[in-house]
């Protein structure tokens, strides 16, 4: 059985006089422990799709199940990392992680909470920054802390909405590899749904890429990525196979974009 399953999902936003279809008949499934990226131009409905998985919104038509159960709201089985505002600015990094753990485990003592939080902060390379407030950290460090909080809540599913979209290029590379390492080395592999508009990021991280088109948001293509793991960005770049593969993907991607008039900007 698949971990996550979407069947004929349609999402409409009611506007003042009309109805806007953000997602149209979207179906796909994600296996347990699989890393799936959703890629598409901005405005094609990636965040809308993820909000359904997060349980913050519900499909107009169709069903979404997790472990066979229909989603009824947010849940402890899922943790989320947004591009911005995942962390609460009035809590320190340690406070943020502890607050997250407390929501899934109310019985731990303060000492135990602190120990777990510091452990995860160390894993993401934030030792020494436990008592800093998010606004005192760089964008990249904020995302590290958000990832630490998400992992510390030990969810089985990780939902990430362009988590590195606002991080500078160099730190983005570092964070991608950190995420890969954490994911590959975790005891029970987490199922990850990762939204991005960066093709290289998607290839590096994913087992499978789901490409979307916009207006209305539909699935254009599903592409399995079978480069051997563990992967690193520099290794991939050296292989001819990768370069050809990337070229093909870009062609598919741009084919879609040039079909639209005034296609939107895509970071590559």
């Amino acid at each position: 059985m698949s971990k996550i399953e979407l069947k004929n999902v349609t999402l409409n936003y009611a506007e003042r006089k009309s109805v806007f279809t953000a997602l149209d008949d979207v179906s796909f499934s994600v296996k347990a422990g699989e890393f799936v990226s959703i890629i598409g131009a901005s405005g094609c409905g990636k965040s809308s799709l993820l909000s359904l998985l997060e349980g913050l919104n519900f499909p107009t038509q169709g069903v979404i199940t997790i472990d066979g159960q229909e989603i009824t709201g947010t849940g402890e089985d899922r943790a989320v990392v947004f591009q911005h505002y995942s962390l609460f600015p009035w809590m320190t990094t340690r406070g943020n992680v502890i607050y997250g753990i407390k929501q899934v485990n109310k019985k731990l003592t303060n000492q135990e909470l602190t120990a777990i939080a510091d452990d995860y902060l160390e894993k993401v390379g934030l030792s020494g920054f436990e008592n800093k407030y998010p606004l005192q950290l760089s964008g990249g460090m904020q995302q590290r802390a958000a990832i630490a909080r998400a992992l510390a809540m030990s969810p089985s599913i990780l939902l990430m909405d362009e988590p590195f979209g606002a991080v500078d290029a160099k730190n983005r590379k570092i964070l991608q590899e950190l995420l890969l390492e954490l994911w590959e080395n975790s005891e029970e592999k987490k199922t990850v749904v990762f939204v991005t508009h960066d093709i290289d990021e998607a290839i590096l991280l994913s087992d499978r890429i789901i490409m979307m088109t916009s207006n209305p948001g539909r699935i254009k293509k599903e592409i399995p990525i079978d480069f051997p793991r563990p992967r690193t960005g520099s290794h991939l770049l050296e292989s001819k196979k990768y370069l050809n593969f990337r070229k093909e993907l870009l062609a598919t991607f741009f084919n879609d974009i040039s079909e639209k008039i005034g296609g939107e900007e895509v970071a590559l």
């Binding site: 909000s51 997060e54 349980g55 913050l56 947010t74 849940g75 402890e76 899922r78 943790a79 989320v80 947004f82 911005h84 505002y85 995942s86 962390l87 609460f88 600015p89 009035w90 809590m91 607050y99 997250g100 929501q103 899934v104 407030y133 998010p134 606004l135 005192q136 809540m153």
Partner: protein
């Protein structure tokens, strides 16, 4: 050493010397003006200032203190020049600074008692407003529909000058104390409520989404997420409420009180005792400034997370 001496060449010290020179001028007021009081006062401040400037390393903080002292000296110099040193102003209406200090010392027990009574009344009414307006504002913000119309209700009541509550309060609550507590409650309630609701409305949606994905409980959502997220705006309402409270309480004391600085000023103005009126005004100003200072300290502590 040379640097340290050079640093002493500033306006504050210059004004201090000007002040000393002015003392050489003959007195022009006919009654005793107790000039020695103001001389001791200014010298005392100057000693503290010099001690601070030699001990303190933080330039920025020192600059503020230095400016405040310079302005105080300037005001005292102008005050003396216009009163005892020239008699430009009417002696009966404008007492010299020395005699104001003399009167202040004589009335000190009465003044302290008055301040204490005023502050207790304000704390009671204000705390009552805080503990009711903030939870209500958070809850109203939570139920957005309810909150939307409620925002207008609060704007309506907030726009009524709170002074109109005084006659009602006095009529309904015969004890002056209770009436004052009620007036301060009513006056600070609306700005705090309005600010809390506005604060909740303006919370970034992503923050609330983030909290929801953590499966935060309702109470934790209200007090661990919405309250701190709205806190910057809530504190603006609180500061507004505190300001109104002082204005109102002083007015109430002048209208119907038997305690407090408002009463002190009103009582002696009936006798045309302008020395005591000036004492009352200065004391009020100093008390409000000190409270504002502590409020700002608390505010910057509570909002220390904002860079």
């Amino acid at each position: 050493m040379k640097d340290k001496l050079k640093k002493q060449l500033n306006i504050t010290n210059l004004l201090f010397i000007v002040f000393l020179l002015i003392q050489l001028l003959p007195e022009q007021y006919s009654k005793e003006t107790y000039e020695i009081n103001i001389i001791i006062f200014v010298i005392g401040i100057q000693v503290i200032y010099l001690l601070l400037s030699f001990l303190n390393k933080k330039e920025e903080k020192m600059e503020t203190i230095q400016d405040i002292i310079a302005i105080s000296y300037l005001l005292i110099i102008i005050w003396q020049l216009l009163t005892s040193k020239s008699a430009i102003l009417n002696e009966l209406l404008f007492p010299a600074p020395g005699i104001v200090i003399e009167q202040f010392i004589a009335d000190l027990p009465k003044i302290l008692e008055g301040i204490q009574s005023s502050i207790f009344i304000i704390i009671q009414g204000y705390l009552l407003a805080l503990v009711t307006a903030i939870p209500l504002g958070l809850a109203a913000g939570w139920h957005i529909r309810f909150g939307n119309s409620f925002l207008y209700v609060s704007k309506f009541f907030g726009s009524i000058p709170p002074i109109v509550y005084i006659p009602y309060a006095i009529a309904l609550l015969p004890a002056f104390r209770d009436a004052s507590v009620f007036v301060i409650f009513a006056a600070s309630f609306w700005p705090i409520l309005g600010a809390t609701m506005a604060g909740v409305f303006n919370i970034e949606k992503k923050i609330l989404d983030s909290a929801k994905t953590l499966n935060v409980g309702k109470l934790s959502m209200l007090f661990h997420v919405m309250l701190p997220a709205a806190l910057p705006e809530i504190l603006m309402g609180c500061s507004q409420g505190l300001g109104i409270s002082f204005i109102l309480l002083t007015s109430a004391e002048m209208i119907g009180g038997k305690t407090g600085m408002g009463y002190y000023i009103k009582y002696y103005s009936d006798f045309g005792d302008f020395t005591r009126i000036v004492v009352g005004i200065i004391v009020l100003g100093v008390v409000v400034s000190i409270l504002t200072y502590f409020f700002n300290l608390l505010q910057s502590y509570l909002l220390r997370w904002r860079q």
